[in-house]
Symmetry: C2
Amino acid sequence: MSTEDASARYNYAPGPAQLPTEVVAEAAQAVRSFPPHGRSILELSHRSTDFNAISEQAEGDLRTLLALPDDYAVLFLNGGARVHYALWVQNLSTPGDRLGLVDSGFWSRQAIAEARKLRDVRVLPESPDPADYADLSPADTDGLDFLHYVSNETLTGLSMPTPQAACPLVCDRTSDFLSGPSDIRPYVLCYAGSQKNFGTAGLTVLVIRRDCLREETGLAPGLSYAVQARTGCLYHTPPIYAWYVSALMLRWIRDQGGLEEMERRAQARADLVYSCIDASSFYANPIAPRARSRMNVCFTLADPELEIPFLQQAETAGLIGLRGHKVIGGMRASLYNAMPVAGAEALVEFMRDFERKA
Amino acid sequence: MSTEDASARYNYAPGPAQLPTEVVAEAAQAVRSFPPHGRSILELSHRSTDFNAISEQAEGDLRTLLALPDDYAVLFLNGGARVHYALWVQNLSTPGDRLGLVDSGFWSRQAIAEARKLRDVRVLPESPDPADYADLSPADTDGLDFLHYVSNETLTGLSMPTPQAACPLVCDRTSDFLSGPSDIRPYVLCYAGSQKNFGTAGLTVLVIRRDCLREETGLAPGLSYAVQARTGCLYHTPPIYAWYVSALMLRWIRDQGGLEEMERRAQARADLVYSCIDASSFYANPIAPRARSRMNVCFTLADPELEIPFLQQAETAGLIGLRGHKVIGGMRASLYNAMPVAGAEALVEFMRDFERKA
């Protein structure tokens, strides 16, 4: 097989992530030729009825998947969800508001740093013990106007369930959005980059309660959630193709059986890999079982010198993207919506083989 | 010919604009399969050596095309150049600065409105006569710290040459960037959305003099030009595919003969269409000849009732995207880098035919 033909079987990268074969095929075809004019979708106008059909399908499917009540708006904005660590504060809160932010790891701390520049911030939990992350009580949030948290810490592979809070929730869902059913009612805002569970790089989706769309923010109009909501996210030329790829993914998720099916697969994939890790002293994962992420399974090898051979042999076997984040090292298997359960099985088979031969 | 096979011959839309056939083919192939792993480019990591090769090629080609001195940085940021009407002010200037902004039409006025919210602004020229747009003198800019202008007003089809100013220039080049050679030296910042002359929607390119990269802006890091410059525009997940399409376009422009050749073609296209308009009382264009845009040729029909038939028959002939902006109506032929001279010839032939039959 020539290099030209070689195709990695599974991509465990933390995002941009693996996409389904059929979505890739349709996305490639649309670049070549998109009805009705047969020109590339890369030339499609955001003011056209054809684009309107794409955006309506995307929003409709998202609303169906989340069973979204009418009092929530959906925004399709530029990629780089990280900028919303500041923008949610500036869009939703006023200078006198008191914000709570949960510290559950690397990304939470970025969010905390941005919020602190803008508002009075309380960091929770007060005792930073991983076991506490899931154990906030409503009393912890007394006097807060908003509580922000990161539902899945991609870097360490730590998941946090919906906190019990006495105030509205804001959530960075970038790495677990649409990976399972979730009740939107405790939230005034959820936001997520599309490049993990529902698209490619270049798009961030926000689900926001309409009564939180404030007009007087002092922000440039293109950064104002209210302005973007009012203009159908067309205040400026939007990221049309990334939006289209997400439209394909949202339809794919719906066609596969919706969020219940995504959750069933996520659980099956994660169970396979964590079981393999736990069954061996060759591999290790430090996260408390109940806080373990279904999206990002991190692990180390008992002998760190074997990490490079592990990654090299995995790549030769067609399993790519397993290197952990440079901040903590080790391995990370990211298992998002488009990763088949067979992808987790292939990884586990490789891990067992590698251990046997080591 | 079935609808599936029908392909519009030329796309005169104001942006996203027509792309060259060979760029579309390569962009579609990359979505299907991208070396070395043979997976979709939509899965490509922005932290990979493969992406690094794309971004280095793009910046290298842009630097070559513009003969860019080392003291200028190039930023590849999210699309929606309009947000820079506020961001350039916040990134480059300080509250005490006095800004001049040229009013040459619709987009300039958006820029003026944003700047006024943030700083002390002088609008130029003081007499708003179209003939004045090209006639600022350095004395008009006395006491200003920056002068901002829009080099091409897409909506009306009005072009403005580099103003003679006593202060550094900032320019929204969204609709004429890379359409011809230009000396960067009078500018501290030029910015342009990619979807007209060098790519698809979802990307904005900034060329900025490095000594203007201020760290203390109070902006969120993702909106700070200094932070983006320092992180190679990877502070957050960037719009990878739009960036890649621009890399293809920049290479295409270079391979076609660079900015001199782009200018030759732009002049040839515009001359064809303006000549057709001027040779007839059936069509009209109100812009003073020396201020006429080479990028957007706007025209009206002496009988407005013929506009709808004109657009319909053009579309049937495979000529799409000719409807003028809703604010001013009429027709607009946008003739960007990827429009062959034959596209202008086809339009002129259609216009003459239509006039004959009317």
